[in-house]
């Protein structure tokens, strides 16, 4: 209930910033390179540590840290300064971010040793980490925008860091066009809100906007939703991350996919749950669930047809964001018991996605570092040469596809349950399908990268050095531990975060004074009654059996699909891979890899796949058009229904 004063949040934000300037001051001297690396590790660790010290007051004792910049406390109940506000949800996201940045800093120690200009890499890396932490800890809408811009620019520059590759530069350009379009939408929404409410503080906006919707604020909502959807990879705006993840160095892909998408999700949750207080609005619930489902479906179907390792992982990360958004969409439901399950599932999936997607990207980076390519058609049989990486990758695969002993199962189960109980049964079915397809697409990767026959040119490949293995080890340990003791994690991390999302009145009161929220809402704000009875009601063993049955059914489906299409007259003559199967062995060994594992399915749904692949045309203008069209559609939807 009461606020809590602490300097730790600002230390967590400023440590990497200061580190960035120190590294910049050293310049590109080769002697100091190890010092620069150590500074990056030390500063990210400092911010992680200072956030860990906040766990006790914020998560266990349920205080909220309110920190007014420049000592400008609110006067006459108007927030004149900028305030940092750390509640359990912010701290939860910030902890994920800081931990991942720390692991990524360790990983870059060896991974980035072959590039030049490493001082710039570390400057940008620390700016990226600091701005992400600053983004989630702040309580001011405009400050969120500023931090978002630092984040975007640092991420763009890091995406194009290996600028001798054409793909890095192209991905960077697409990123900056679409990313700054999203940022412009966010700024537009922010200033429209300012014109109505004359404040920039998050808590005060929530207090003033309660029951006070006007066309101005609805247009602002549409712009902000689209803008943050760009940052969170929601579907019509998901085109930049795919290119960026593919082109960036893997230590950065990990941050982009595992962590930066979470900042977009965080902002969407803050907007929907806090500023606009849409809890209990069925139209908003439907919008978010529908959007999440589309994201899930398009992401995973695109992932199945990819032939590049990192691009496939990027598309699958788009589909995972769909799961998270479905969870948060259910969280807006009127039915409190179901809503809590949805929110908890989404929060749990945020944590889990950060761990297993980071793990998968680090494995991809390990393969890239040792072999020099991520093309699935060129790789093969690395399991004997890189046993640790193979093991970590299999752990990641099983987690992401929700196989019971691992962590993905817990969160996915919560989301299935929530969406089913909220009355969205088709969404549950699509989510199950997407989960199976995730497993399928990653099995394809395992098949064509780690198993199969070793190719000639990779005879001398070695296991990655220890510095790169440590982060992977930590992440896979987290995957297993969270999967084994989900109740512990859910009790001490997820439940406080979910509670703080719903406890708007307290969030506002802490920033201003006791009773301010009740005064503005013109009604008493009750502490939300959280009903956790539905959450965690599952039986892993029976679900394992069900999953086995599903898997067997899928295998049968694919084998039948393959046989039936084998007899068809194939109109797609350009597909030369077909010859591998009909015209004998093309290579001296039959390498059952690449896309051919799902050849039958691709043939059966050929029209859909051709359409969706053609839609991702690679032209920047089209991608911009998608974002603008999404904005227009959201605008129409909100104006007709609100």
């Amino acid at each position: 209930m009461t606020s809590y004063f602490s300097n730790l949040p600002i230390i967590a934000i400023l440590a990497p910033f200061l580190g960035a300037f120190l590294v910049g001051l050293m310049g590109g001297r080769k002697k100091l390179l190890n010092v620069q690396r150590s500074i990056a590790i030390a500063t990210t660790f400092t911010s992680f540590l200072s956030l860990i010290y906040l766990i006790k007051p914020v998560i266990l004792d349920k205080y909220i840290v309110a920190y007014w910049m420049g000592n400008w406390k609110p006067e006459s109940q108007w927030a004149i300064g900028i305030g940092l506000e750390v509640d359990a949800f912010s701290l939860f996201t910030a902890l994920i971010i800081a931990a991942a940045c720390f692991l990524s800093a360790i990983y870059s120690f060896k991974y980035m040793e072959e590039d030049n200009g490493l001082d710039k890499y570390y400057v940008l890396f620390q700016l990226l980490s600091a701005s992400m932490i600053g983004f989630v800890l702040t309580g001011d809408v405009f400050n969120m925008y500023v931090m978002l811009e630092i984040m975007t620019f640092a991420a763009i520059a890091l995406t194009s860091f290996r600028n001798h590759l054409y793909k890095s530069v192209e991905a960077g350009f697409k990123y900056i066009v679409i990313g700054s379009l999203g940022s412009s939408f966010i700024l537009l929404g922010t200033i429209l809100l300012y014109s109505q409410l004359h404040t920039l503080n998050l808590a005060q906006m929530a207090a003033l906007l309660h029951g006070n919707y006007t066309p101005v604020s609805i247009l602002a909502l549409a712009f902000m939703l689209t803008g943050y959807a760009v940052k969170a990879f929601m579907v019509p705006c998901h085109t930049w991350p795919v290119d960026a993840h593919m082109a960036a160095p893997s230590s950065i892909s990990m941050l982009l996919s595992g962590i930066m998408s979470k900042t977009g999700v965080y902002a969407l949750v803050r907007i929907l749950y806090m500023i606009y207080q849409s809890t209990g609005r069925p139209e908003m619930e439907f919008l978010i669930i529908f959007w999440g489902t589309i994201t899930m479906l398009v992401g995973i179907t695109m992932a199945v047809v990819q032939t590049d390792f990192k691009r496939l992982l990027a598309f699958s990360s788009v589909s995972q964001i769909g799961y998270i958004m479905v969870g948060f969409g259910v969280g807006l439901s009127v039915n409190k018991g179901v809503a809590v399950v949805g929110t908890m599932g989404a929060l749990f999936h945020m944590l889990n996605h950060a761990t297993f997607k980071s793990l998968l990207f680090l494995c991809a980076g390990a393969v890239l570092h040792q072999t020099g390519t991520t093309d699935l058609n060129k790789l093969g049989g690395l399991s004997k040469k890189m046993p640790y990486t193979t093991a970590f990758f299999i752990i990641g695969t099983l987690s992401i596809s929700g196989i019971p002993p691992f962590n993905g199962f817990v969160s996915k189960w919560l989301i299935y349950q929530a969406s089913f109980e909220a009355g969205y049964a088709p969404v549950t079915i699509i989510a199950l399908m997407a989960s199976v397809l995730t497993l399928a697409s990653l099995i394809k990767v395992i098949q064509s990268v780690f198993f199969g026959q070793l190719k000639e040119e990779y005879k001398d490949v070695k296991e990655v050095p220890l510095f790169m293995r440590i982060p992977m080890m930590v992440l896979s340990a987290i995957c297993i531990i969270v999967g084994v003791v989900p109740n512990f994690v859910s009790k001490y991390l997820i439940e406080p975060a979910a509670f703080s999302i719903y406890n708007i009145g307290n969030y506002i009161d802490v920033m201003f004074e006791k009773g301010y929220a009740a005064k503005m809402f013109k009604e008493t704000v009750s502490i939300p009654s959280m009903d956790y009875t539905l959450a965690g009601y599952w039986n892993p063993l029976s679900w394992l059996i069900l999953f086995m049955i599903l898997l067997i059914a899928l295998i049968l489906f694919f084998s039948f699909g393959y046989k039936s299409s084998n007899n068809k007259v194939i109109d797609d003559l350009i597909n030369t891979r077909y010859e591998t199967f009909t015209g004998g062995e093309k290579e001296d060994y039959n390498h059952l890899g690449e896309n051919d594992m799902f050849w039958g399915m691709r043939q059966d749904f050929g029209r859909y796949f051709r359409f969706i692949k053609g839609a991702h045309s690679g032209v920047v203008n089209d991608y911009v058009l998608w974002v603008v069209a999404a904005c227009a559609i959201v605008t129409i939807y909100l104006f007709t229904l609100m």
Binding site: F17, N143, A157, V216, C631
Partner: protein, 91 residues
């Protein structure tokens, strides 16, 4: 298809934004002077910060943390440009 979507979305946004600007103009007419945080800031500038220019007082004092972020944006962009334009060499 592309043309249709272009004109459709741009028309929608234009129409709705003109409607919203109309509403905003009405809102501003209701309050001929500023209100909210601006009111307090203008009243307190001289006593509390000692800066004659309220705009600078906001930029460097009330919202000094934003300016910190802003200068970091510039720093990031410049370092980023330097990183992008550098000559790539392999060790």
């Amino acid at each position: 298809m592309k043309k249709f979507f272009t004109w459709f979305s741009l028309t929608i946004i234009t129409v709705i934004s003109i409607y919203v600007s109309y509403k905003m103009a009405i809102m501003t007419q209701l309050h001929p002077t500023y209100e909210g945080i601006a009111n307090l800031i203008v009243n307190d500038t001289l006593q509390k910060t000692g800066a004659i220019n309220s705009c600078t007082a906001i930029v460097f004092d009330f919202r000094g943390y934003d300016t910190l972020g802003e200068s970091f944006v510039l720093f990031t962009a410049i370092t980023g440009s330097a990183a992008i334009l550098r000559k790539y060499k392999r060790r």
